[in-house]
Amino acid sequence: MAVTFTPNIGLAKPTESELAENWVNGPKLDEDNNLIIIDKMDVNLVSYTPTLISSGTQPNNGVGVEQGEYFEVQGFIFGLVTIPFLDPGVAAGTGGGGYGIKLPTLLDTSFHTVGTALTDVPGAASVIGEAYMRDSSSVNFSGPAAMDVVAVAGVHYGRLITETYTGKTSRFWEPGLPAIVATDDQITANFFYKKA
């Protein structure tokens, strides 16, 4: 039997003779169609750890628990992360360029443009999301950011690019800028992209 299937999710389209012959018992027929549809519609959230990195001494968010969740629809990843900073143990780390927030999967580099280092000048890489940076001690240094993406050692990370603010001297959220991260600071972000 050579049942034909739909191109995207492989639903069975038996002919009349195939239907009469084996609709109930054959593979990829009525029950499988239903299971495929249910599987594609019932998308589960997956947890992951959005590790924060810098290009020098690594930052530490203390006893704050970073959380990431994402789901996948037809090869596209939709996710969100929260990175709280909570003493004891908060440290900004060191290094030029932006902080990197680990993404749950690699991006499709034939569709997106991925930077090559945390120090890349923004603008060339794809923007895949947005964030809110909360500085618990300063309204001026709290605000929205855009997320682009760079590769570090074969892993893809989101960087937060800050908007204009008074005294802005760095294009990124990075160690020490716009302010040194401290307890009760928090990063929340969402993103979506085509996965590899």
């Binding site: 739909t6 191109p7 999710i9 639903l11 037809q74 443009t113 603008g123 060339a124 690019i161």
Partner: protein, 188 residues
């Protein structure tokens, strides 16, 4: 009586118990044909074909001109299939670039749903980052918005001003913009 009804949203064929056992006949489709129609409709909801589109960079008064190495790039996908997600990048380029004049406009690959035209101002549809190649302080994050009156996308800087040849700064060589949009469209 026997026959078929159709589901509300997708128009999937729902045969009654008599209709469901009919064979294909010249005068009506049997279940095999009906099932094929149903499966194709459901399958089409899950297409996620990516595509490129020509991103046109224009302005209210005079459109900018790309210089050496300048480019515009637009890519998008339709999911479910009424949700459109797009990613775009532009670089004004070097020698020969001109900034034009007026508020900048950019086309979208697919017309937004008519429900998005109910405002007389603009609908936020995404984010973009603007990189001033010659200054950090004026590099910023923009709100990407759809303007129903022109059918185009434009950008607002944190000050609220629209992105133009002079705002947030005079556009210079090799300045760039990279961003995304997400919005519903009308026809599947």
């Amino acid at each position: 009586m026997m026959g078929t009804t159709v589901s509300t949203n997708l128009g999937l064929i729902k045969p009654d118990s008599d209709e469901s056992i009919k064979a294909n006949m010249p005068t009506f489709a049997g279940w095999a044909a009906q099932n094929t129609i149903n499966m194709d409709k459901i399958d089409a909801l899950f297409r996620a074909t990516t595509a490129t589109y020509t991103l046109n960079w224009t302005a209210d008064t005079t459109s900018p001109t790309l210089g050496a190495g300048g480019f515009t790039e637009g890519k998008f996908v339709r999911l479910w299939p009424r949700m459109v997600i797009g990613f775009y990048r532009i670089n004004i380029g070097g020698a020969g670039a001109t900034a034009g004049s007026g508020t900048y406009r950019f086309n979208l690959p697919v017309a937004p749903a008519t429900e998005m035209t109910l405002t007389d101002d603009a609908v936020p549809i995404g984010r973009a980052l603007f990189t001033d190649s010659s200054a950090v302080v004026s590099s910023s994050v923009f709100l990407a918005s759809y303007r129903p009156s022109t059918g185009n996308m434009f950008f607002r800087a944190p000050s609220g001003a629209a992105f133009s040849d002079t705002l947030p700064v005079a556009l210079g060589q090799n300045d760039t913009l990279s961003g995304y949009f997400i919005y519903p469209t009308a026809a599947p």
